[in-house]
């Protein structure tokens, strides 16, 4: 797809969203109703499909110094099993002796199978080079679990520990504005400006919060993984910069994902 067509699609989507919002406002519906209606309209035209297709191609293509595909990657359900893996991440992996989320696990596979350098990819700015590939891979893997319910394992001690660490990180206040994740996401029914805020201390519902990322963002024309979503949350919290696939981001994933148990995953979703 040409850059012009991409731009055209973005504009069309933004206009469609504006139209839905205006309709919703006129009919006294909440922003959430408007967004739900908008999502339904775009069910067959979510640009995340394009990222998903790119991700599928990346998964099966031989790449890297080892000239290997990712088809032998173990995302938690055995080598090569993609379907159903996303709704059980983050989880404990015996080979790395770590609890890993989708992105950190993809990094492991890219390094061990393909010989790519995980640390270099983690240090690459969002949307560039291998990071653009990470977004596509995240779209592909999450799409393979679309419609399934979040079901993170909590059997391993380290999974329980990471839940507790994530809970503490969620409530950790800091920075010049005293913000924690909980400031915006600790109570139901709140908004920032017109944006509804999911209460992430419990299951916020099907396709909301943790069960809605990765997502295509109409406003920027980008596919954001949970790592990028958290990165921008911390930017707005006025915190320092969280490392890509760092333990705090993984712990928060465990906390939000376990809280969302039973929520239907709609990832990769579409957002304003």
């Amino acid at each position: 797809m040409s850059a012009w067509r991409r731009e055209g699609l973005r504009v069309a989507l933004a206009l469609a969203l504006a139209g839905v919002s205006a309709t919703a406002a006129a009919q006294g519906k909440s922003a959430a109703d408007g967004i739900a209606e908008y999502r339904k309209m775009l069910e067959d035209g979510n640009p995340a499909d394009l990222f998903e297709a790119k991700g599928e191609s990346l998964w099966t293509t031989k790449r890297g110094p080892k000239n290997a595909s990712l088809e032998a990657c173990d995302l938690g359900k055995g080598p090569g099993v993609v379907k159903g893996a996303f709704v059980e991440l983050p989880r404990w992996f015996a080979d790395t002796q770590r609890v890993q989320d989708l992105e950190s696990r993809l990094l492991t596979c890219m390094e061990t199978l393909q010989g790519l350098k995980a640390a270099e990819i983690a240090a690459t700015p969002f949307g560039r080079g291998e990071q653009a590939n990470m977004e596509a891979l995240a779209a592909y893997v999450s799409a393979a679990s679309r419609g399934q319910r979040m079901n993170l394992p909590q059997a391993h001690l380290q999974e329980k520990v990471m839940y507790e660490v994530g809970k503490r990180a969620f409530y950790f206040r800091g920075g010049p504005m005293d913000f924690a994740c909980a400031t915006c996401h600790g109570e139901p029914g709140k908004r920032v400006r017109l944006q509804d805020l999911p209460d992430l201390t419990k299951n916020p519902g099907d396709g909301i919060g943790f069960a809605a990322w990765p997502a295509y963002r109409v406003s920027s024309g980008e596919l954001w993984s949970m790592q990028r979503r958290l990165n921008d949350c911390y930017r707005q919290q006025r915190f320092p910069y969280p490392g890509y696939a760092s333990d705090v981001t993984i712990a928060l994933g465990v906390y939000m994902g376990v809280n969302a148990k039973g929520a239907e995953s709609i990832a990769p979703a579409i957002k304003r």
């Binding site: 503490r168 911390y234 320092p240 910069y241």
Partner: protein, 215 residues
């Protein structure tokens, strides 16, 4: 105590090994607190103006970092310290220009790692509060401030009958924790987010009878 250190270190290693093997038991709540702090400190790096000292919590931030509110005694201490920190306006001049206050209330910029050093901050007020009736895009984390002065009977902000609410509002804007230890609101004066002159303008937005907030 020095002779105990190697034994302690050995215990730590054994515990860590057991944890890694998944056959240990759940760490205590205090151990998890320490682990969380270590994970947080090890996961961030400085970027632009967002330096690592932002993770160094003061007493109030630390006490308000869990689902449980601090004890009444701790909360009282935080509030007392916050109230004592409030810098009252020079010459008793509490109110500025509500038009400038509205601009600050609308402006949500500042203090992120994508903001340049020395760039002016907004007040981000509409992010969390309804204020002027004309602005429909407002947040709901904080209470509505529409008719703030009017509802509190402020007909003349300079009159002695208005003094209590005028002073309270200044204190709330300067250091929100003076009246609620774990308030979600930033400490605009105390943290240097807004200048004294800017806080006067936000005060006027809320309390000036001519402000659209009080129509």
């Amino acid at each position: 105590m020095k002779h105990k250190t190697p034994a302690l270190a050995a215990t730590v290693i054994v515990v860590a090994a057991l944890l890694a093997a998944g056959c240990g038991s759940m760490p205590s709540s205090e151990q998890l607190d320490q682990q969380a702090i270590a994970v947080i400190k090890g996961s961030f790096r400085a970027q632009g103006i967002a330096t690592m000292d932002r993770l160094q919590q003061d007493q109030g931030q630390a006490a308000c970092s869990s689902a449980q509110a601090p004890s009444e005694a701790i909360a009282r201490q935080i509030q007392d310290n916050a109230l004592a920190s409030v810098k009252w306006p020079a010459g008793g001049q509490y109110l500025g220009d509500w038009r400038e206050g509205e601009k600050l209330a609308q402006n949500g910029r500042g203090m992120t790692w994508t903001d340049a050093a020395g760039s002016a901050n907004g007040g981000s007020c509409y992010n969390c509060h309804q204020i002027g009736k004309a602005e429909l895009s407002y947040g709901t984390i904080g209470p509505s401030l529409y008719n703030y002065g009017k509802l509190r009977g402020v007909a003349d902000p300079a009159s002695p009958t208005s003094a209590a609410i005028v002073q309270y509002t200044w204190g709330k804007l300067w250091n929100s924790k003076a009246y609620a230890a774990c308030s979600n609101m930033p400490r605009f004066g105390h943290a240097g987010l807004l200048t004294e002159a800017q806080i006067r303008d936000v005060m006027a937005l809320l309390l000036d009878p001519k402000s659209p907030v009080n129509q």
